[in-house]
Symmetry: C2
């Protein structure tokens, strides 16, 4: 496509500058908000120019970086490695930034892990201070200055509305065909707002582009920067077994007339297990599936192709390189089956509750009473963050958490006596699924849950050890609601720290 | 008022029976759902008849008791003491039942603690099995069989809709003037439902009475049973100091143009601190206050009388005896300023988010990183439960938790290194308030939060001990996101167990 077909707003021609020039607009100590959600749709040219200015020693910058979720390698990884990020919210997945957040970087990083669905409103209410600059990737600029987003939407409209200045990266490497896929909706702020007028997964309630007053646009950087999506996580036998257990649970619910995956929209996250679930659904007896999720993965295209899925709503196209090629190669066929929404809409409490979403999220560890840790190793070292899992788990019609029963070749049990950090409390967890089976916790008391989680979900190597803890705690607490021994509840984690495995030693000590 | 003015549905005359006869309809092993929310609006006559039948040895009953929140002494206390309750959900506050739930009763009780806003939908989706009998207290029966609720609404409509049979207690001791105060709305089930059409705290969207097919009504018990509301909790100096700090925080927010208590509805719970907050608001510079809460306390009447509050929406009139007399003595003046809603509406994620509620809930303990325990002592013994706190805290525009900094004469610190149970994770807690001050946690990383919570909220006697833990954890974990020492994080609780106080000994050990 011609440059002119992408850059249709002549009034903005005079704002064109190089990425290096635009990068110089960002002042030390300021707050930068960026487009994108996962590596998809993030700005690339200006962030890399900033990194280069810092790497070469020409500038020293310490910034607050606000995004909608995780970002691409041009931001969290490049900036994290160079100590550019002083403060980061609301989520990250970069290993370089993870190291820095946990104290292993060149400079300390203050990282705040926030429910993704709450970021836009909180920002508008002023909880995170002033946003100096928004950098937004665009696939095109329309005649009257509308900004066509690329492979994700996130909080871009709110960031543009709040920012003092806006830098646009018109990225010619992003497909022009993305135009029309987005549905941008301004939610408004309390108390003067009505219902969000969305009642079906496929409803369109907004416009296909972002709006920004021309005077706020400080720079338009035009170039072609390839996106670096995460490769498709390979399926393994364990993922397939987890997926089979989820499908078995969903089939049982449909049979019992309670919840039907044919009727209620599904939320499914990122990663090998999520993809395996999608694959499992393809071969199960469901049809007319609909997705209401944060991200769109390759497996959803498979389901559409197989005639099993009718529609998918997300805020990000988190497809692999192959998946993106496949989508773009046949976009006209997919176009009326997909929509990209603001993350305030994809992760909206109001809409997730209204639509009755079946939520499927991943746990790092779960305890015998059903509390889930999604984020912190040993309660201390953050891995990624809570992301949108809480938006879905809390407001879904039913909340499923899945995990491998063991990690590190069996040295870590994902089922423990007490989780070291709680992201999702017992009140928010309906079903736990591992490759061993599923534990349906609805309506059960904590002691009933313990029996079910240990026997159905824990790895057989750890069951005796979990039973021993539970029985000792029951005996010592005389039938209390949630039996715990505070001096032994982290025994599994102490074993791991001291001996390299959560398994108890020969003597059976814990 | 005459009997005939209350019992206006002649078709139901033939269903009249005594409480003892109606009690015999309840079979052993069945599930009973009851009206009411807090002691307000619960059935009394049939429950007491059941208790008497069991106490006298005529019957042995083990029941599942489902309610909307806690109940009156006729249910949880009387039944809990006699071992009638085999399974209980979603909430309780009775000391007799608390004892039984924690293993000290005549029979074990399986207690499941559930977000109050999710109970009705979960019940309709079949998560809690079949409801055999609903017992509903009524102030009147209308000509065409409408059931006028009494001092609370809760999930009564859903319980009636799901129950195999309905027993009505027409309680002539409840004021007939309550008619018209309720707004009953059927939410419907996913996926085929639209927005809940409520955009203002005072909107009426339903009918003033409950509906029930006449053929389902198995009994109408007519009598006069006094309600036993909880006495007004006395204000003390500490409550007043907490309230003053909340008012100081709200005033600062208004000043900064972020959140205004004059514009956003307030949620305020039950108890001495909640009442002190209401009192504090009366004397602060706010006006046109509106409440969107679960319960209506005496302090709200004060605010209305003082011309400071315009409207209060709740699901329960949890007034003291004096408060109720005052409301009824002048009901026509209050009538257009109050509404009683279904708890599915008062605690709705959709509506709490839309309206932008300022949520104020009570913590049992909070940790230095901002996680809140609302329910379990030592992670083990449940006190009441999570109730509706999570519905509000998660979906509010801002979520405030308040607690005395110490309990038991200083032997317990409410600020601890790690809470022993998490009901509200760090992601759901914006501000912590004690009588010492407030900690505004918005946008802060865990380590920043720790400094603020320790210095602003902890009792001075515990600050050095908390700092020592935090510093030791920081040193040992080398700058990790959430520094913890898993072998010492419950040191405060271990001190309490071993030595009767969380304060460390002379040697400073923890």
């Amino acid at each position: 496509m011609e440059y002119n077909e992408r850059f249709r707003c002549a009034a903005l021609y005079e704002r064109v500058m190089s990425a290096e020039e635009a990068a110089l607009l960002i002042e030390d100590g300021s707050t930068v908000a960026v487009s994108g959600f996962t590596p998809s749709g993030c700005p690339k040219m200006v962030p890399l120019a900033i990194a280069e200015q810092v790497r070469s020693g020409r500038r020293r910058l310490r910034l607050t970086l606000l995004s909608s979720a995780s970002t691409g390698p041009e931001l969290d990884s490049a900036w994290g490695e160079l100590g550019i990020i002083a403060r980061r919210l609301p989520y990250m997945t970069s290993s370089e930034l993870r190291r820095a957040v946990n104290g292993g970087g060149p400079e300390p990083v203050a990282y705040t892990d926030i429910h993704i669905g709450e970021v836009a409103q909180n920002a508008r209410l002023g909880f995170y201070g002033k946003i100096d600059t928004a950098i937004v990737e665009a696939a095109a600029l329309t005649e009257d200055g509308g900004i066509v987003p690329t492979t994700a939407l996130g909080c871009s409209q709110t960031f543009i509305d709040l920012a003092g200045r806006v830098i646009i990266e018109l990225n010619l490497a992003q497909p022009a065909a993305l135009e029309g896929l987005h549905d941008v909706y301004r939610v408004g702020d309390p108390p003067r707002r009505g219902p969000i007028p969305l009642t079906g997964v496929g409803d369109r309630i907004g416009t296909p582009y972002l709006r920004c007053p021309a005077e706020k646009i400080a720079a338009v950087v035009v170039g072609a920067a390839e996106e670096h999506p995460r490769p498709l996580a390979p399926e393994d036998e364990v993922s397939r077994a987890i997926a089979a257990n989820i499908v078995r649970f969903l089939a049982r619910e449909k049979e019992a007339g309670r919840l039907s995956a044919d009727e209620l929209p599904l939320q499914s996250g990122v990663g090998s297990v999520a993809n395996a679930v999608l694959f499992g659904l393809k071969n199960a007896g469901f049809s007319h599936l609909r997705f209401y999720s944060e991200v769109m993965q390759d497996g959803i295209l498979d389901l559409i192709d197989a005639g099993k899925a009718d529609f998918a709503s997300a805020t990000s196209l988190s497809l692999s390189k192959e998946g993106m090629a496949r989508l773009l190669g046949d976009l006209e066929r997919y176009r009326d089956k997909l929509v990209l929404r603001d993350s305030e809409i994809s992760n909206s409490a109001e809409l997730i509750r209204r639509l009755g979403v079946i939520a499927m999220n991943t746990a790092v560890e779960a305890d015998i009473y059903g509390n889930v840790n999604s984020s912190q190793m040993n309660g201390t070292t953050v891995y990624n963050g809570i992301g949108g899992s809480g938006d879905y788990a809390r407001n879904a019609a039913i909340s499923i958490f899945m995990t491998n029963s063991v990690a590190k070749g069996g040295k870590i049990s994902s089922i423990v006596p007490m989780v070291t950090h709680v992201d999702h409390s017992e009140h928010d967890v309906d079903v736990i699924v591992t490759e061993q089976g599923f534990a349906d916790l609805r309506g059960l008391s904590p002691k009933e849950r313990a029996a079910r989680i240990i026997e159905n979900c824990a790895h057989p190597d750890y069951r005796a050890q979990l039973r021993a803890y539970f029985e000792a705690a029951c005996a010592a607490t005389h039938g209390a609601q949630t039996p715990h021994l505070l001096d032994r509840c982290f025994g599994f984690h102490e074993n791991l720290r001291r001996r390299g495995s959560m398994l108890c030693g020969e003597g059976g000590e814990n």
